[in-house]
């Protein structure tokens, strides 16, 4: 009886702990990535961007995505990789008009991905 209650409380604690940590971690990571992307977007808009700005964002993402693999389906991460590599490629050839929609997509993903991990009926059902 006591063993059952203890194991129940431990597993419940673990599950609640993991849930809150995941929610917090995903939210914060994408908030930071969104800030970085916003800066890049403003620079592209002002045509003050360089290829190095793009690779800096890429390096930031590479650093974050290693831990995100634990929490997110790998396909979601691959989609971000794909959009980001394309955007940086356009920056390399200085095609800013093509790079901007890609960054917009990434900014949208930064809002949408954490939303799909929030506690809401739409996500549960």
């Amino acid at each position: 009886m006591i063993r059952t209650i203890v194991s129940l409380l431990i597993s419940l604690g673990l599950l609640i702990g993991i849930s809150f940590y995941e929610s917090n971690r995903v939210q914060k990571t994408f908030e930071r990535f969104d800030e970085v992307l916003q800066v890049l977007y403003d620079k592209i808009e002002a045509k003050e961007v360089t290829y190095e700005d793009g690779t800096a964002v890429e390096a930031f993402w590479e650093n974050q995505k290693n831990t995100l693999h634990i929490w997110l389906p790998h396909t979601a991460i691959q989609e971000i990789d794909y959009q980001l590599y394309e955007a940086v490629g356009y920056l390399y050839v200085r095609d800013y008009d093509s790079a901007m929609p890609k960054i917009e997509i990434l900014i949208g993903m930064c809002e949408n991905i954490p939303q799909s991990y929030r506690f809401s009926w739409e996500n549960i059902l």
């Binding site: 009886m1 059952t4 209650i5 194991s7 129940l8 597993s11 419940l12 673990l14 599950l15 993991i18 849930s19 809150f20 995941e22 929610s23 693999h69 634990i70 929490w71 997110l72 389906p73 790998h74 396909t75 991990y117 506690f119 996500n123 549960i124």
Partner: protein, 228 residues
């Protein structure tokens, strides 16, 4: 992970409710919640294992949730009789001293032929040889025979009428016709065949007869010889 936790609870409860609604027929030697765990846990373990795009943690969280639910149900089972009845169900007495309890059979999605089959598996071939028969909560079958039950089953009974319908094949097997058995029904005080729950006859001519909602009757037909 919180979403997986809640979704696993919902799937678990939904599967458990469906299993309970399906009745004892679908369970077979497991408590309903044990069967649900067996059904769910295999997939939970397999999906993240086989699909590289899903983090392994998704499977682990779902399995841990199932474990948590199992522990909660175990606690309820041990400490709250009413909760145990809701989660695991209660035994159903389908045959008593008055005969077959049709309503109890229907509650468990079973019919008379299922009951007769279960009795045969337990070694009881004649319906009147048994005092009580019940389906346990986990779907197994138990029967309490009458003290002299072995004297009551000297020949294999066959079903002649099953829930208001004649079994033509078995009637032919007894080398009689419908008219003969309609006469027998009259002798037993039955005017409408549709009211008959079950009627069996063995090779010695011993009839077991029960109308819906009434006590069973037995009758010995005066056959010249043992037919089988």
């Amino acid at each position: 992970m919180g979403l997986i936790f809640i979704r696993t609870i919902i799937v678990f409860i939904a599967t458990l409710v469906v299993m309970r609604l399906m009745g004892k027929r679908q369970i077979g030697e497991m408590q309903p919640y044990e069967l649900v765990i067996t059904l769910i846990i295999a997939d939970l373990a397999c999906i993240p294992m086989a699909d590289n795009s899903i983090p392994l943690l998704y499977g682990l969280v779902a399995i841990l949730t199932v474990y948590l639910l199992h522990q909660i149900i175990c606690l309820l089972d041990l400490n709250f009789a009413k909760a145990k009845a809701v989660v695991s169900g209660i035994p159903s007495i389908v045959l008593n001293k008055n005969g077959i309890d049709d309503a109890e059979l229907k509650k468990n999605n079973l019919d008379v032929s299922d009951l007769i089959e279960s009795l045969r598996v337990e070694g009881y071939f004649s319906l009147d040889a048994v005092q009580y028969a019940l389906y346990e909560a986990e779907g197994t079958f138990s029967a309490l025979p009458k003290p002299d039950y072995d004297k009551m089953q000297t020949s294999l009974p066959v079903i002649l009428i099953d829930e208001g319908k004649f079994d033509e094949k078995n009637i032919a097997y007894t080398q009689k016709d419908k008219a003969y058995y309609l006469d027998v029904l009259k002798k037993l005080g039955c005017k409408n065949i549709k009211k008959v729950l079950v009627m069996t006859v063995d090779g010695n001519g011993k009839v077991y007869f029960q109308q819906k909602g009434e006590k069973y009757k037995t009758l010995s037909l005066s056959w010249e010889r043992t037919l089988w």
